[in-house]
Amino acid sequence: MALISLEQVSVAYDNRFILEDFNLQIEKGKLLSLLGPSGCGKTTTLRLIAGFLNAEQGKFMFGGKDYTNVPVNKRNFGFVFQSYALFPHMSVYDNVAFGLRLRKMKEAEVKQRVTRMLEIVSLGGFEKRLPKALSGGQRQRVAIARALVIEPDLLLFDEPLSNLDANLRVNMRVEIRRIQQELGITTVYVSHDQEECFSISDQVAVMNSGKIEQLAHPTTIFKYPASEYVARFIGFGNFIAFESRSDAGEDIELSRGALKFLAAKRPNGAGNLGMLGAIRPDDLQLWPSTQEAPLSGNTLSGRVQVSTYLGRSYQYEVETELGVFTVNQEMDVPFAQGEQVTIYFPKDKLVLVQ
């Protein structure tokens, strides 16, 4: 049974619905990410779970109990804020001890727990510092320690890494995942960064204007986006609207005018419902049209319009009869502008979305 369950929840601001008839279940011990652009309702969902917001309608069940009207301070959920929200007038020690002292814990035990938690986040020796004397990464770790030390029943992260620089972000997300798995604590994580979400989550929910477009394991979403929206959001830059589809054994045969394409069926047979083909720029391959393609079928001829250097690869905008395709390809000698090329669409990389 799910530990957390949002049932037909609606939230509105100024008479505009942010969430409407929203449903979400999370299993115990899992880390679920809410991924989407700003304004998609992911932060609203998180704040609703935390109890900072009230739903107009619907129910929030936690561990089989109705938590809809339980006030924030009675929920025992840890929340890590984007701005860290450390108490500026308190030392690192007092920040972390805050929740324990409110629980009327003996000072000796407070000390023991705070000290242990600061070790876990590698901040031993920083007890007396004020937040202003810490770096961004250190502040973030204090914020995590403060949320974890109360042994919360649920841990909530609101874009916790967006104020850190790139290297630190990678280190911190590994750290967050390690702590989360070590303590086996159910976690909801909000971010607009897909790499961040994919790297640490058991499940990712891609959100769009108050709805979950797809909820699945990160690899499933990465390979098989369920909708055009998800495909675009996670980097499928090229689309072909097909006119008809038919079953062809292992594959699905697609056509548009005189052009025929094959797309491999998904392994579990799920999905592959739509008529819109999607493929990543990295998965397309280019050949000079003077050279015969080593594979027949699933090709399209075109002309290089723009070529830009990305460092590891070159990016081309290729003009074809079906519009412009973006292709990333590693090569020593790039295609020249205006050169005639053949684009190859590997059938196992071409996915169909609705």
């Binding site: 935390a50 109890g51 900072f52 924030v72 301070n73 009675k74 929920r75 025992n76 959920f77 840890g78 929340f79 804020f81 701005s83 929200a85 450390l86 108490f87 500026p88 007038h89 805050f98 929740g99 409110l102 629980r103 004020l130 202003k132 403060r146 949320a147 109360i150």
Partner: protein, 273 residues
């Protein structure tokens, strides 16, 4: 503009203040120690030995302290409410709270006379409902001064506190709540400590303002004197400029001591240093 000449921007204002404030104050201070060319503390000794002056000084300090406390008690909740209000409500409430500052102290004091006088609105009302048999003596007492001064300075403390409260990151309150604090505990442990520096600054403004206020105590205090009205009396009625100077210096010293102490306290509490 070349940075070397940037100080030119400061110069006109500085020269004005130096010529018409700094130099006169220094001359005043010097004159109190050397009334006739030789160094003496006699001017001050006379005052502090004088029971009448000590009583006035005490009244002044008492009125200022009580005015400050009342302003804090009334202003803090009001400022907090305004800081948490929506943008439209906020601008209306802010305009209303600043409004007293826009009227002349003379006009304001005369309205208080009408309200607080022996046959004033307040006494008439209280007698009509039978709460009192004979009129209360409020006008021309220190109480009347305090009422007038609170009216005058309440906007000041509200504006000062509002500045601090609007900069308060409300996420801190949510953080405290998520860690188990009730609304009241979150206020006590987070909001209040973080607004104390603003409270101190506001209190300094009110206290110093009350200490040096002239018009309001003069009109509402009647025969009751405060240091500022006493100074005026010495200078303009008794023509004793020496005594007036000594009073002025005593006021300056008290002001500096209070501001210094409270600033030090505020700095010690300010987490942002």
């Amino acid at each position: 503009m070349n940075k070397r000449y940037l100080y030119l921007l400061l110069l006109p204002g500085f020269l004005f203040l130096a010529a018409f404030m700094l130099i006169p104050i220094i001359l005043t201070i010097v004159s109190t120690f050397m009334p006739d060319g030789s160094l003496t503390l006699e001017g001050y000794m006379t005052f502090f030995r004088d029971g009448y002056f000590n009583k006035i000084l005490l009244t002044t300090l008492r009125v200022s302290v009580v005015t400050t406390l009342v302003c804090v008690v009334l202003g803090y909740p009001a400022a907090y409410y305004i800081s948490r209000a929506g943008i439209r409500k906020k601008s209306i409430l802010l305009a209303l709270s600043i409004f007293p500052l826009l009227t002349s102290p003379v006009v304001r004091s005369f309205s208080w006379m009408i309200i607080l006088g022996k046959k004033g609105l307040l006494n008439t009302f209280l007698m009509n409902i039978g709460l009192i048999q004979k009129p209360l003596e409020i006008l021309y007492t220190p109480v009347a001064m305090m009422v007038g001064l609170v009216h005058l300075f309440l906007p000041l403390i509200i504006i000062t506190l509002l500045g601090v409260m609007e900069n308060l990151d409300y996420e801190l309150v949510r953080a405290a709540r998520s860690l188990g604090a009730s609304s009241f505990t979150a206020f006590r442990k987070i909001i209040f400590p973080l607004t104390v520096p603003g409270l101190i600054i506001g209190s300094i403004l009110v206290f110093v303002g009350s200490l040096t206020a002239y018009t309001t105590p003069a009109l509402l205090g009647g025969k009751e004197r405060v240091v500022a009205t006493f100074l005026y009396q010495n200078a303009m009625t008794l023509n004793d400029w020496q005594a007036a100077s000594v009073i002025a210096v005593i006021m300056i010293v008290i002001t500096f001591v209070v501001v210094g102490l409270m600033n030090a306290w505020a700095n010690r509490l300010n987490p942002k240093g």
